[in-house]
């Protein structure tokens, strides 16, 4: 079974660290960020496959983090996991490209199923890119496949200067 790289973002330290431990016990790679700024920095440095993101946090809120991830790293799947949960928030999150919107507390099995589904979606996007490349449509393939890599390389290049 492939190890999924997961970033959990929540200001509730006890909750997010325990959840992370449980995910690692299920043989996946899980890291934690306690706020939006930390999450965005982490994503720049070490791109995850799936982000599990709280909505209401001090500083940059979850919706803004989602917006920035979807813009810079469209191949990273984001699952919203929030105790706040209004219909309006769910609609907005899905419109911004959230893969799923879940209410806290959630059963670990339910969360893992959604994470695996999100990862599969990401993988399928990569396969789609490969198909386009095979057909000679390199620009389209590049758009899909290299969106994340390009952004990571750009930022690494900037830092090294």
């Amino acid at each position: 079974m492939e190890k999924i790289k997961i970033l959990l973002v929540d200001d509730e330290k006890e909750f997010v660290e325990t959840l992370s431990e449980r995910i690692r016990m299920r043989d996946h790679d899980s890291k934690v960020a306690l706020n939006g700024e930390e999450a965005l920095k982490h994503i720049d440095d070490d791109l995850p496959d799936v982000v599990v993101l709280d909505l209401k946090m001090p500083g940059i809120d979850g919706m803004e983090v989602l917006r920035r991830i979807r813009k810079a790293y469209p191949n990273v799947q984001v699952i919203m996991l929030t105790g706040h949960g209004s219909d309006k928030d769910e609609k907005e999150a899905r419109k911004l490209g959230a893969f799923e919107y879940l209410q806290k507390p959630v059963e670990i099995d339910t969360l893992m199923k959604k994470i695996k589904k999100a990862y599969k979606q990401k993988f399928e996007s990569s396969m789609m890119a490969a198909t386009f490349a095979e057909a000679g449509e390199f620009d389209t393939a590049k758009d899909i496949l290299e969106a994340d890599k390009e952004n990571v390389d750009k930022k690494k290049g900037k830092k090294e200067k």
Binding site: E14, E21, R22, P105
Partner: protein, 222 residues
Amino acid sequence: MRELNEKEIAFIGKITAGVTHEINNALASIKEISGLMEDLISMSSTDSFPHQEKFLKVLPRIRDQVQRSVNLTTQLNKFSHLADERTAQVELNDFIEHLVFLTQRFARIKNVELQYQAANQAINFNTIPILLHMALYNCIAYFLSHTADGGKVIIHPIKNGDKYSIHISFEGEIVDKSKLFNDISSEEELLILQEAISSLEGSAEFDESSQSITLNFSIKHE
């Protein structure tokens, strides 16, 4: 009792919403920690942990109570948002289902069953949610205060063209039937009900023989 104005009610709602959110966060942590315990115990052998089976039976009970608490805080949070805006669009079946959940405890203390019969269609309209809640709650409270023990309160919304009614009836023994709806002006629940209904531009009908109250409204769409 002093009357609260809209800003005061909205303030109470806002603080309640904030605190229920914090309680939910704590419940989520408890759930994860008990889940982690289950994970760790499942990984141990029976030799290293002789009480494994007992622990694995007990831990889900924590999970069940957490879920029960989450249901309560979710409904309380929903209630606290009633005062966000003076008027709002509601769907009456959902609205009554929510009220029944919130008032279960009051009915349970009197061994009264609270039953809700949904209308056969959605009933959407604009209203003042907190006043409608108060009106319905006081109908239920009135019957609870007139029963010794036991019985059933049944709430049934009905749509009829551009009007809707909410029928609240009591099946069971009333302590003193001669006093039922006898002096509306002296009974607190009915006074509050009348005030709320008046502000909602509706009407209330009291029927002693069927032990029921019917609230009538015209549907407003804004």
